[in-house]
Amino acid sequence: MARSDVQLMLDVKGGDEASFSELLQRYRTPVVNFLQRMVRDRATAEDLAQEVFLRIYRARKKYVPSAKFTTWLFRIATNLALNSLRDGRYHHLEVSLDAPADENTAPLDLPSKGRAADERLMDQDRSAFIRRAIEKLPEKQRAAVMMHKFQEMDYSEISEALGCSESALKSLLFRAYETLRVELAPLVGVPAESGMGKGAEI
């Protein structure tokens, strides 16, 4: 039976390096993907993910299982990502609808009235389109969606990681999904409209 995150972390606290490797293996992909969505840059995301795990390791002696491990992990990741974005080092990485997000993807093809939705979507990578729609969200909305949708964390965990109340989080998430619903209208199956809460952030 697989050991729980808390048990693994307690073992790391006790000096078991193998447990740290197991935690690393368990969460490296979610953390890197989370950070990649946050800072919109693969290399930076990996650097920050390294820092996240290093901070976990450094704090092992003081670890107290007062909250879920993932809450702690993503709180560190969120803080590091927000700090990096606020530092201004990655402002040049702001996503543009006219420019490719990275060298491996084609420029985003904006929905135009003259083309059918199916035809447009055939020309572009659906996954990249979705990813960029998420990356367009304001920072906090982006972090909330990543933890809510992709990590399936509870509202209480996410609100703790983001340092806001649960009601504020629900409002944040609702606005984010409303924005995504409009942005991804070609995939969702309805024409894009100027939806409520678009781009708004609490």
Binding site: Q25, T29, V32, Q36, Q50, I130, L184, V188
Partner: protein, 162 residues
């Protein structure tokens, strides 16, 4: 247009955390409300679409770099546990400063002096002896010593005075 009264409940509907009752209420409302029916379909579809978002694995050297950084971390020593935490160190420092400050406050010596006087008064025999010895005039009442009683080692000056 979605009904405002249900707007806050759609989140739980989207993520599947709504109770069966809540879900049924939203769905039954959607059957009579075209706007909400459409919104329910869009959210359901959106949830599926987001699952298509690509997940990328970290680079090959990711784990190796982490392990190298972990290995470079200073190893804990057995005395680390003995070192006080910052809070404890601060508390101890404050205690030390307070102790030093109290030690520098001048002590009230009048109390000590009173105690000494009291002890002297209590021992009356000492006082009596002290008074007698202090009054050297009492020695003049002693009769003058006869020459026979003179000590053999009387200095020459004393003979001339007698």
């Amino acid at each position: 247009m979605m009904c405002d009264k249900f707007s806050s409940e759609w989140l739980a509907y989207i993520d599947g955390r709504a109770s069966i009752t809540e879900r049924e209420r939203l769905e039954s409302h959607s059957q009579v409300c075209a706007g909400c029916q459409r919104r329910a379909l869009e959210y359901t579809q959106l949830w599926r679409v987001l699952d298509e978002s690509s997940i990328s694995e970290p680079s090959m050297g990711f784990n190796a770099r982490i392990r190298a950084r972990v290995a470079a971390e200073p190893k804990p020593h057995f005395w680390d546990g003995l070192l006080p935490t910052p809070r404890l160190a601060l508390a101890m420092g404050l205690l030390l400063v307070l102790s030093a400050w109290f030690a520098r406050v001048p002590v009230d010596t009048t109390t000590a002096q009173s105690d000494q006087d009291f002890r002297m008064i209590r021992d009356l025999r000492v006082l009596e002896n002290y008074d007698v010895l202090r009054d050297f005039g009492a020695l003049s009442e002693i009769p003058a010593a006869s020459p026979a009683q003179k000590p053999a080692t009387t200095p020459p000056g004393d003979d001339q005075r007698m």
